[in-house]
């Protein structure tokens, strides 16, 4: 297929950088220095975790967002893009047919022509018979088919897909993926290329010719992987599995070199934005890794499969364990440290004590709150004080999420108490 290397690419993304929120420095940098070229007849995957800015990049290409700096160029004049949404984004008050027609209508296509093309798209995508149904009457899979038909009917050159299968159950997603790949390989869709955002590693390997792996916080392209396995691909194929494991390793690679604990989460010190992970989940993961067959060290891809987690959900849990020095991440493996083994073997109270030690020592914000409470004669402090402090480093939403995480961990560890109604921290034990 690479005979036409001279031809112009479909999209060129140069030095794109995007900052959310306060545009004066303190905002959240979601995309940094991103380059991307999309050629003819290829499926390219943008793989990364939530917060890696891949959806932002997709929306920049769709023209929905203007990046803070850098440019998105379409070398061919009159390149049309179209988008499929994770949440389907169908108009609930329009029928399937009307939903599919809506894009053509906006282009001012005449009614008869519109109907003809819409019916063709509906036919192509396997929705015939459902033309007059409303979205609420359809299953999730059918809805996403409508979303796909609506995107295809406007004859786009590039189809942008934003986690198109992640709101569907496993079986439906698999069927839809296969159908899409069939249509693509048979050349029955009018599109030239597909750009798909996903956080599902297997999905990326299954579908894409090329995968761009994004790091998070900020989102950068850390690896570009060509997938040369022939279609249709088989998940059981050892080469397939090797590739999946390799990508897992690359997605955790950054934490291996040099400073194992730097840059786990955006920000440093008390300005570190923490994900919401429950202590139950942390305990559960430590127990799972400590148990057979892993006995203390488990490949993340196996864990994700066994525990029914998406990579996207598993990473934050593993990284909190790493932050708390209960485990180390590297080479796609999660290895428990001795503290975690002690934790797993301990009784409830001993577990809490151990957790409290690690929490106060390794999570700067938790230690900070505890110090303030110890220093004050009343052993009380309003939560707004800490909220204001961390909002200097991150957006309001992140600050709220970070504070909620620390509150949950602190409550479990009995390191401090929090009264929601009064919005205050204290050292009181609830009587």
């Amino acid at each position: 297929m690479n005979t036409r290397t001279e031809t112009l690419p479909l999209v060129e993304v140069r030095d794109v950088r995007h900052v959310y929120g306060k545009s004066s420095g303190a905002g959240l940098l979601v995309l940094d220095d991103v380059q991307l070229t999309l050629g003819d007849s290829e499926i390219v995957g943008l793989l990364g975790r939530s917060g890696s800015g891949k959806s932002t990049l997709l929306r920049s290409i769709a023209g929905l967002i203007r990046p803070t700096s850098g440019e998105v160029r379409f070398p061919h004049a009159d390149t049309r893009v179209s988008m499929v949404f994770q949440t389907f984004a169908l108009f609930p008050w329009l029928t399937v047919l009307q939903n599919v027609e809506v894009g053509l209508e906006a282009q001012g296509v005449a009614a008869e022509e519109r109907r003809r093309r819409a019916l063709k798209a509906i036919d192509l995508i396997g929705l015939d018979g459902f033309e007059s149904a409303y979205p609420k009457e359809l299953s999730g899979g059918m809805r996403q088919r409508v979303g796909l038909a609506r995107a295809l009917v406007v004859d786009p050159d590039i189809l942008l897909m934003d986690e198109p299968f992640s709101a569907l159950d496993v079986l439906t997603a698999e069927t839809l993926r296969t159908d899409l790949l069939d249509l693509w390989s048979e050349g029955r869709m009018p599109i030239k290329s597909i750009l798909i955002v996903t956080h599902n590693i297997e999905e990326a390997v299954l579908m894409c010719d090329r995968i761009l792996v994004f790091s998070s916080n900020p989102g950068r392209v850390v690896a570009e992987i060509s997938v040369t396995l022939p279609q249709p691909r088989n998940r059981q194929d050892p080469a397939f599995q090797a590739l999946v494991d390799d990508i897992y390793a690359r997605m955790t690679a950054r934490t291996e070199v040099g400073h194992p604990r730097e840059g786990l989460f955006p920000g440093t010190g008390i300005g570190m934005a923490l994900p919401r992970v429950s202590t139950n989940t942390l305990a559960g993961l430590m127990e799972a890794v400590a148990a057979e067959p892993y006995s203390g060290s488990a490949p993340l891809s196996d864990l994700a499969g066994e525990l029914q987690y998406e990579a996207d959900e598993l990473f934050p849990i593993a990284e909190v364990l790493q932050l708390l020095r209960f485990a180390e991440l590297g080479g796609g493996d999660l290895r428990l440290l001795p503290a975690a083994r002690r934790y797993v073997d301990a009784e409830v109270d001993a577990r809490k004590q151990l957790f409290a030690q690690h929490l106060l020592r390794h999570v700067p914000l938790a230690g900070h709150i505890r110090r303030i409470l110890d220093d004050r004669a009343s052993h009380e402090a309003p939560a707004s004080r800490f909220r204001d402090e961390i909002e200097d480093f991150m957006s309001e939403e992140y600050a709220e999420q970070t504070l909620k995480s620390v509150i949950q961990w602190g409550r479990y560890a009995e390191a401090f108490a929090y009264d929601e109604a009064a919005d205050r921290f204290s050292l009181d034990d609830p009587s």
């Binding site: 004066s24 929905l64 988008m83 994770q86 984004a89 108009f91 609930p92 329009l94 906006a106 282009q107």
Partner: protein, 584 residues
């Protein structure tokens, strides 16, 4: 006649046409008759509106049952004219507020205040204004009455539309932008449909609330000008003046019939139709139904006619307006933007202060600080009444509402009754109270008070019913399992569960009670007149006397009371309910 059946190709277009579903169905006939009758009534009523003012004097309102349908028609037309005006206002103002941050800074608080301010008191000023606009024609008085009804309807509709525009789902917004919808297409395809269910609901609430004002706005005395527009309200005023119980009964009957008719013929079909715009991806269990809506959908000719009318309209919708060039939002430095906002706010503040200053000067010309203090004292009295009565109404209706809400069969049957009672103008009950108070020699200062909540208590009831029926089954089962009952059940289950609903109901009820005080603290029956000391009767008396400065002072003080009450009591309760007691 074999020939007859085989003749498929040839003539007899009539047969083919009938078989092909071209013939009108019986549904067409019914709907056509309804439409034609409606059109005739509207034209007749509208024609009467423009009659010269002198006609009011030559043919005054009479208590003749034969005239009642005519009066009912005129009143209904006024209400729908006001509803139309409210819709226009809603689309214009709410859209402006949603699209422009600067406009929102002014419009949103203004709507919030207008929503809770005693609009009844403004009548005095608007009547004078509109009479001046159309000298010698009834149209001026009609406009004043319609405007009074409009002030009772518009604010909550505009508010709901604004809220909807602000909460348009992000993904649908992206789809519309990605396909490059024009502003107009965005409005008809996305914003209007999304806002419709809430808007329809608010329109119904507005219609209910408006009845109260109809009675007060058709027969107006401002100083020495008395205008009596033909309508149910004037009929009622006259019946009270003549001490005619039979006439009052007939007016009540006519109102009930009108409410029933527009519910069946207008709102039900709209609700049934608007159901498809509800933004949820799962099919609802209970679809609202309307026989008229089903009937219209079954018509053939009418559907074709509708399609014939819709096609050019649709063309108009897709008229290739010059597409707004991809909006490149101006990147303004945050500091500059803050400065601009500050400047704008300062400008608004100056205008408000100037208005306040003008008002104060106007009042100060003829009134002193002492008057201010007296009015403030009267305000406290009315406040006391409102607080006590809402408390008493809550004590009565909360247990009853919970009881009903927990029994779905009852709730289903009683909910429409409660809504009907809320729509029913409580002022028609006032004469009975006067007779009772006079007969039993009671103190009007105490016994006139209940009239204030007579019409508004239903908001508490039907909100509590809604809250109690929303208590999840698992919560009910859990409390049954653990044997939670009695006071503990109220404290731990019922009250937290209904609290957000109760706050909404009580807030509406208290706002309505303030408004009602203007009518309820000063009541007449023939030549007998009862009065309770309070801000309401103060405003009523000043209006009667045409004493504008006093009316202005009274309204200003009442507005301050209502707004302070909302900010200090209801808002915090609302926020608390939002934060702590949500069931999701």
């Amino acid at each position: 006649m074999v020939f007859f059946f085989e003749d498929t190709r040839g003539g007899r277009p009539l047969v083919r046409w009938v078989r092909g579903g071209g013939a009108p169905s019986w549904a067409d006939l019914i709907v056509f008759i309804l439409l034609a009758a409606g059109a005739v009534l509207v034209f007749h009523g509208a024609g009467e509106m423009g009659a010269p003012l002198a006609q009011l004097r030559s043919t005054p309102v009479v208590l003749d049952p034969a005239m009642l349908p005519e009066y009912a028609l005129r009143t209904t037309l006024r209400m729908f004219a006001a509803l139309g005006a409210s819709l226009l206002f809603t689309f214009a103002v709410a859209t402006l507020a949603a699209k422009s941050r600067k406009a929102a800074l002014v419009i949103v608080p203004a709507l919030d205040i207008l929503q809770s301010v005693p609009v009844l008191g403004f009548l005095t000023f608007t009547v004078t204004l509109f009479l001046g606009l159309f000298p010698g024609s009834q149209l001026g008085a009609e406009c004043a009455a319609i405007f009074a009804i409009f002030t009772a309807q518009a604010w909550n509709m505009a508010f709901s539309f604004y809220q909807s525009l602000r909460t348009v789902p992000g993904d649908l917004d992206e789809v519309s932008r990605q396909f490059g919808f024009s502003a107009w297409r965005r409005f008809v395809r996305l914003e209007l449909p999304f806002a419709l269910p809430a808007l329809v609901w608010n329109m119904m609430m507005s219609m209910s609330g408006a009845w109260f004002f109809v009675v007060a706005s058709e027969a107006i005395t401002v100083g020495n000008t008395t205008i009596t527009l033909p309508g149910i309200g004037s009929w009622l005023a006259l019946a009270i003046d003549r001490e005619d119980f039979g006439a009052i009964g007939m007016a009540v009957g006519a109102m009930a019939v009108v409410i029933l008719l527009y519910d069946q013929l207008v709102f039900r079909p709209i609700v049934a139709w608007a159901d498809k715009f509800r933004f949820e991806q799962t099919a609802s269990q209970q679809q609202p139904r309307s026989w008229l809506y089903d009937l219209v959908r079954r018509t053939r000719w009418l559907n074709r006619l509708g399609a014939a009318i819709a096609t050019p309209l649709r063309r108009l919708c897709s008229f290739p307006l010059p597409r707004t060039p991809a909006m490149r939002p101006l990147r303004i430095a945050p500091a500059a933007r803050r400065a601009l906002d500050g400047l704008w706010l300062a400008l608004v503040a100056i205008v408000v202060l100037a208005a306040f200053w003008t008002l104060a000067r106007y009042i100060a010309q003829s009134l002193t600080w002492e008057d201010g203090a007296t009015v403030f004292g009267l305000g406290l009295l009315t406040l006391l009444r409102v607080v006590l009565l809402i408390a008493i109404a809550s004590l009565i209706w909360v247990p009853i509402g919970v009881w009903i809400g927990l029994r779905p069969a009852w709730a289903e049957r009683l909910q429409p009754v409660a809504q009907f009672l809320a729509a029913f103008p409580a002022n028609v009950m006032f004469p009975f109270a006067v007779i009772a108070i006079l007969g039993l020699r009671l103190d009007p200062n105490i016994w006139l008070s209940p009239l204030m909540v007579l019409g508004t208590q239903w908001y508490i009831l039907f909100n509590v019913i809604a809250g109690a029926s929303a208590i999840p089954t698992d919560m009910k089962e859990a409390s049954a399992m653990f044997g939670i009952r009695g006071w503990q059940w109220w404290r731990r289950v019922a009250i937290p569960a209904i609290f957000p609903y109760y706050v909404t109901g009580a807030l509406t009820a208290s706002g309505g009670s303030w408004n009602a005080s203007i009518v309820a603290e000063s009541v007449s029956w023939g030549d007998k007149h009862l009065e309770a000391a309070g801000l309401g009767s103060f405003i009523a008396n000043a209006t009667q006397a045409g004493d504008y400065p006093r009316v202005a002072l009274g309204i200003a003080v009442m507005s301050i009371f209502v707004i302070a009450f909302n900010r200090m009591l209801w808002r915090p309760m609302y926020r608390y309910a939002e934060r702590r007691l949500r069931l999701d």
